[in-house]
Amino acid sequence: MSDTPATRAAAATPPRVARKIKGLSDRAIAWIFVGPTIFLLLAINIFPLIWTINLSFTNFKANRIGREVKNVGLRNYERILTDSDIWLNMQATAHFLFWTIFFQVLIGFTLAYLINKKFKGNDLWTTIIVLPMMLSPAVVGNFWKFLYQPQIGLFNYVVGFLTGRDPSSFEMLGSVELAPWSIVIVDTWMWTPFVMLICLAGLRSIPDYIYEAAEVDRASKLRQFFTITIPMVLPFLMLAILFRGIENFKMFDLVVQLTGGGPGSTTELTSINLKREAFEKWRTGYASAYAIILFVTVFGLASIYVKALNKVKER
């Protein structure tokens, strides 16, 4: 310690000066430490977002840089909100969100409840269940496409085997009715573990003495489940729903690989539609307005939801 130049200098100088030589002030260090992160976030997230807002009022096209850019006011927004096709995409997205969250909560909570019974080796099996959510959605989606092939796919074969139907009589990805469900199945397979883990954290946070007190009061097991377990896990569950909701609203990679938005536009979720407008049709201004509408929607819904969540927590 004593051989560093700073401490030697500190020993030789009066206390006040020593403090300055020994190191920067806490406040300076704080800014040096936080500064780069804030700067990076401004550069990679906030600045582009402001730029997107700007572009949304223009008729700019990113593939024609030299062209004169005109300010079109709110016309992009007007066109999007009155476009019936976009409302169909919104509906498809809402449908997808509802069913994925429904199944993930149902299966995820059940699994967490069962794992919480602390049976032997539950750690190992939990890890196996968690594996899919660690994998790349694009690669997983691509592979599920193979499993869904009507003639050769494992999925069709197993379903055919279990139900007695001809495996090549239904096309998960090719038919208008089944294609949305093919995405719901894969998303549930991938993300149920997430809901399960959060529920598990919730279940483990319930202190034992509450159940012991309920037992003394002779509350039935069923009653204990509905008056203790469910209310205590609810805030966790709602949090899991929030995260899954935001993530699934942004869902892109899995669907692009699985169905690419087809057949027709039955699985064209808003993010896929947006990508098409921005990077295939190159209607940059229009796509920017679309992006802002989606962002405001997510943000609005999320903040209403968070308010509800806080109310549940207070109880």
Partner: protein, 312 residues
Amino acid sequence: MSSFSVTEPSRRSKWFAGTMVILYALITMVPLVWIMMTGFKSPADAISYPPKVVFEPTLEGYVNLFTTRTRQTEEFLAANPPQTWYEEIVREYDMVIAGPSKFGERFLNSVIIGFGSTFLSIFLGTLAAYAFSRFKIPFADDLLFFILSTRMMPPIAVAIPIFLMYRQLGLSDTHLGMILLYTGVNISLAVWLLKGFIDEIPLEYEEAALIDGYTRFQAFYKVVLPQAATGIASTAIFCLIFAWNEYAFAVLLTSGTAQTAPPFIPTIIGVGGLDWPAVAAGATIFLLPVMIFTILLRKHLLRGITFGAVRK
């Protein structure tokens, strides 16, 4: 614990719970096992009906994944006997290996961008998390919320300006550009997770170090960093998994030199459509590191997920 404990589940319910969970785990594993199996099948076995569970394993998929091949005349094949075992495999289809495929390159890009952005996220994230945990920063709560809210943005909402910005700055389709981008996405998670871990380290350790004459910097890297090592490691794995798996930005902002494996694997074409064994081989190689990570570090990962989520 006595056998009368009311919170200890009965043996029968444990048995039931175990059976159900194991059943679900086995169903979960089927697609994963199928990917790995398909990687070792011949193209004919991969698309046979009914699907083959028992088959003769071959490395053809892996050879096809790593090489490009051309068809050759019989005279040429007869005059040049195969030199290696992988030459032998492609000879069965009257082909010779023309050169390496792009998979190795793409995989290497995934490694460079994944580790680069993880390193940067952890470096910046640890500094910021330490500052938020230990110093009085004006509007700290608002700043922290701001950092988190950047994660709610759909990638496509910012992809257009980033695309334009990167084109201006010469960052499009470069490793540096992708590293910076993924760091920007990852850093919110890193700061939040790491702040939690650093909060748990008792303040007394640092105070003792400061009294001993350490500067703040010294106290930070000699006392706090070693204490936070496990937290830093598990956060790093999360950042790495994200960067490793990311697809949307990769497919929109890269086209060649800096393209990672996820946009590449689905495009591996064989004779007459997708070469499924090669695709499966690529997927296996790509998924395996993450799966091994998950199994080895399961305790930290599970804690990280729930902890991160519950904190927010």
